[in-house]
């Protein structure tokens, strides 16, 4: 159990960071391409502004990812032995194709703008962005295989042996999960960028960089949020087909009967096998999940008690995700409507709401991962390998101590990281925005620190 908590803590911290880098890397690539295409300085300013944030986030993502790569062995040794032949190569490909690509070109992206040509620098930025997407591809392939396993054979000693790699990678839930996750990353970053822009617009409505950021973010919201709702719906149908217990848990349905209602709110109780204080809409559940009026969704009682996921968590996490998703779409529509009336930058109400929704995407993302991960319990490989058969033969005190150490270190490290990011974002984007202030050799080659830069943050051992 503690091993699970430890894994949940590390993955919970970790998952936000790749989502941030996936979204932000693509955004940076778009900004730089636009700069090269149009030559407008404001694109470069916004690029430089977010590049500094990216550097901090990426560093944290690398190290927390390193942690993940080894935790499979330390905490889930039996799982690694049994599933390694299938999941291992997928992760191996992630390292080979994505990890190296990102970290190889990150140095050039961050520090090399004056050392390589403009086009080469754009290529480096794009390679980093592509690397993050490839990374998502492999990791989600591995995760999806664990949710909907296929293309394997079982050896006599209970190990999973790969039979058909094509089937393993393109397992049934993979395309849906990949699309859902990548869009979620884009949306999360869009709302983060939008909120930062809203914050600065409140103080200076004429700041060109802030206006650009706000405009781009609201375009993303209106276009992407509805797509995400559709993608989520498709993903849900797919889950119903392959992991009906998960759907039953997230809907809070206990009994199977035609015309399943949609429970809006309630409190599922695992002991009494019912959902208390339920507010229901008749037939709507059937309509959404089977697209028919009288369709039936299998309830949790259809599954043996030992095979049921813990419904209260799944139920509420799902509602948080969906609620935020619709809220984001609504904000996007509102912004689009204001835009047509030419009041996009002028509405304090919109700015306030967008600012308040800064973490909305990330909260939705975490809630979504909670749904999918808690929803597949009590299995690690769905229907085949139980979580209790996956853990390491490591003593409980050991896991407890390391869990405590990890929590403390993560709180310090990511707390400080958050602080630094917030400090970077506190400062408005300026004309002639500088790159990451690292006191690097390139400084000598001509980049001068922008005057707007908080003075103590630049290297104080410098010429000045």
């Amino acid at each position: 159990m503690l091993a699970r908590v430890q894994f949940a803590v590390t993955i919970g911290f970790h998952i936000v960071l790749p989502a941030f880098t996936i979204g932000l890397a693509s955004y940076l690539a778009v900004l730089e391409a636009l700069w090269l295409a149009t030559g407008r300085r404001v694109y470069l300013d916004v690029f430089q502004y977010w590049l500094k944030v990216f550097a901090v986030i990426f560093g944290m993502g690398v190290v927390s990812g390193l942690m993940m790569a080894y935790e499979f062995g330390t905490n889930w040794a039996r799982f690694s032995d049994k599933v390694g032949p299938v999941v291992g190569p997928l992760m191996g490909y992630e390292v080979l194709t994505a990890f190296f690509l990102e970290s190889g070109f990150l140095g050039i992206m961050l520090f090399g703008r004056e050392r390589v040509g403009r086009v080469m620098h754009l290529i480096a930025t794009m390679l980093v962005a592509i690397g993050t997407l490839i990374s998502a591809f492999w990791i989600l392939a591995a995760n999806s295989w664990m949710q909907t396993p296929q293309g394997y054979t079982l050896s006599p000693d209970g190990r999973f042996l790969p039979a058909d790699w094509w089937q393993i990678i393109f397992n049934p839930s993979f395309p849906y999960r990949l699309v859902h996750m990548v869009i979620a990353s884009y949306l999360s970053v869009a709302f983060m960028v939008g909120a930062v822009a809203a914050f600065h617009l409140r103080r200076d409505g004429q700041n060109q960089a802030s206006r650009l950021m706000f405009s781009m973010a609201m375009w993303m919201a209106v276009v992407v949020a509805p797509i995400q709702i559709l993608a989520g719906d498709q993903h849900g149908l797919n889950t119903l087909q392959y992991q009906p217990a998960k759907v039953a848990a997230l809907e809070g349905d206990w009994d199977t009967h035609p015309g399943t209602p949609l429970i809006l709110f309630g409190m599922p109780d695992m002991q009494t096998e019912r959902t208390d204080w339920a507010v229901e809409v008749p037939h709507l559940g059937a309509l959404i999940l089977t697209h028919t009026w009288n369709g039936a969704i299998r309830g949790l009682k259809d599954f043996p008690p030992d095979d049921r996921p813990y419904s209260p968590v799944v139920f509420w996490a799902f509602r948080i995700m969906v609620g935020l998703g619709f809220l984001m779409a609504a904000v996007g529509l509102w912004a689009a409507w204001l835009r047509t009336r030419g009041r996009l930058y002028a509405s304090p109400e919109l700015r306030g709401v967008v600012l308040a929704m800064a973490p909305a995407g990330f909260i939705a993302l975490l809630a979504g991962w909670t749904v999918t991960e808690v929803g597949r319990q009590p299995f690690t490989v769905y229907g085949l390998l139980r979580t209790t058969d996956s853990v390491s033969p490591v003593g409980l005190p050991g896991v407890a101590v390391s869990l405590a150490a990890i929590v403390v270190v993560y709180l310090i490290v990511f707390g400080a990281g958050l602080l630094f990011v917030l400090r970077l974002l506190w400062r408005p984007p300026t004309v002639g925005e500088s790159g990451p202030p690292t006191g690097l050799p390139i400084r000598a080659a001509g980049i001068t620190p922008a005057p707007g830069l908080a003075a103590p943050a630049s290297h104080d051992g410098g010429v000045a």
Binding site: M67, G88, R115, T438
Partner: protein, 341 residues
């Protein structure tokens, strides 16, 4: 058969690449202990900032590759060395973020705090890597495909000596890296550091090399028995030869020679390690009377190996290619003039 052999070679290569590449940047962190001026520290960090990410990725490849191709070894080694590995990872977390955070610290105190985190993190990471090496070499008790030893098995006199040895060795790598990438006073001091550290490193190489065969009769047989000695005797001779070149390089104020020599030392020690272990990937625990786990025992089914090998054969040369490109982009001495006050 062949496939497993190729993979054993590839993973060994990934780990060696990690030791040679991340070794010097961890070493630079360790040297923060003696280089206390902020201006010097700026230069030291600048010399490794664009590279450390890529360097550390080799460790991820080592871990990921082990899981993919030798899942049994992965599932046994990591629980056996659990505390050392978790400590190493946490140390790497600290040190990794210190890079960025240091430059963002608002006050001198904050900056010194992250400097300390960088130094301590680098040192602990290096020390734990030595512990892991020692813990593996002395053997791991396995029953029914799972680790069957105790919580503190990895902590012995031998593993602690290995830990200190790695710290000293990495510091030497770091000093030699700085000789190459810096000039003037910092470079001068690094030559001095390198001299002292080289003597200490040689001492540790001798101690660990003599201690290792005593851990396990298999190693003893391999190193001093016939025909193993044919293979093993060139190793110490080459170490001595490289040592001589190193000394001359240092005396003649070579810039790159010391680093290359130290890397050769590490590669030779690594080869010695491979000779001891082969064909085992996990040597047996002392007094358990069990055979160790060989690479054949630990191997994943051929289809897993083949699937990943296709990618590795295509991608590793590409990775090496753009790693070289990145090093080339950031070539030359780090401009220290700007940073001196």
């Amino acid at each position: 058969m062949m496939l497993t052999l190729v993979w054993a070679g590839l993973i060994a290569f990934a780990v060696l690449a990690y030791v040679l590449l991340d070794g010097f940047d961890l070493g630079v962190g360790i040297l923060f202990a003696v280089e206390r001026r902020e201006a010097d520290r700026d230069v030291m960090l600048s010399s490794i900032a664009p590279m450390w990410d890529g360097n550390e990725t080799w460790l991820v490849l080592g871990g990921g590759g082990l899981l993919a191709v030798f899942p049994l070894a992965y599932a046994v080694i990591l629980p056996a060395l659990y505390p050392a590995i978790i400590a190493m990872l946490l140390a790497l977390v600290f040190r990794g973020v210190s890079f960025e955070f240091r430059f963002r610290a608002a006050s001198l105190r904050g900056r010194l705090w992250w400097d300390a985190a960088f130094m301590v993190g680098s040192t602990i990471a290096a020390f734990c890597q030595g512990l892991v090496l020692g813990g593996l070499l002395q053997g791991i008790h396995v029953e029914n495909r799972v680790y069957a030893g105790g919580w503190w098995d990895w902590l012995t006199g031998f593993s602690v000596v290995c830990g200190v040895a790695v710290v000293v060795g990495y510091a030497l790598q770091g000093a030699c890296w700085l000789i190459w990438r810096t000039d003037a006073a910092l470079q001068f001091r690094c030559r001095r550091h390198a001299r002292a550290l080289a003597i200490a490193t040689l001492g540790f190489i001798v101690v660990v090399s003599l201690w290792t065969p005593m851990l396990n009769p298999l190693f003893m047989q391999r190193w001093f028995g016939w025909p193993g000695i044919l293979l093993t005797s060139p190793v110490p001779i080459l170490v001595a030869l490289v040592g001589w070149v190193f000394w001359r390089g240092l005396a003649w104020r070579g810039h790159l020679t010391p680093l290359l020599c130290v890397q050769a030392w590490f590669a030779l020690c690594y080869a010695g390690l491979a000779i001891s272990l082969w064909p085992m990937i996990v040597p047996p625990g002392r007094g358990t009377g069990q055979p160790g786990i060989t690479i054949w025992d630990a191997a994943a089914p051929p289809s897993s190996q083949m699937f990943l090998l296709v990618g590795a054969v295509v991608l590793i040369p590409i990775i090496l290619g753009y790693t070289c490109y990145a090093y080339w982009v950031f070539r030359g001495k780090v401009q220290p003039g700007l940073f001196y006050d």
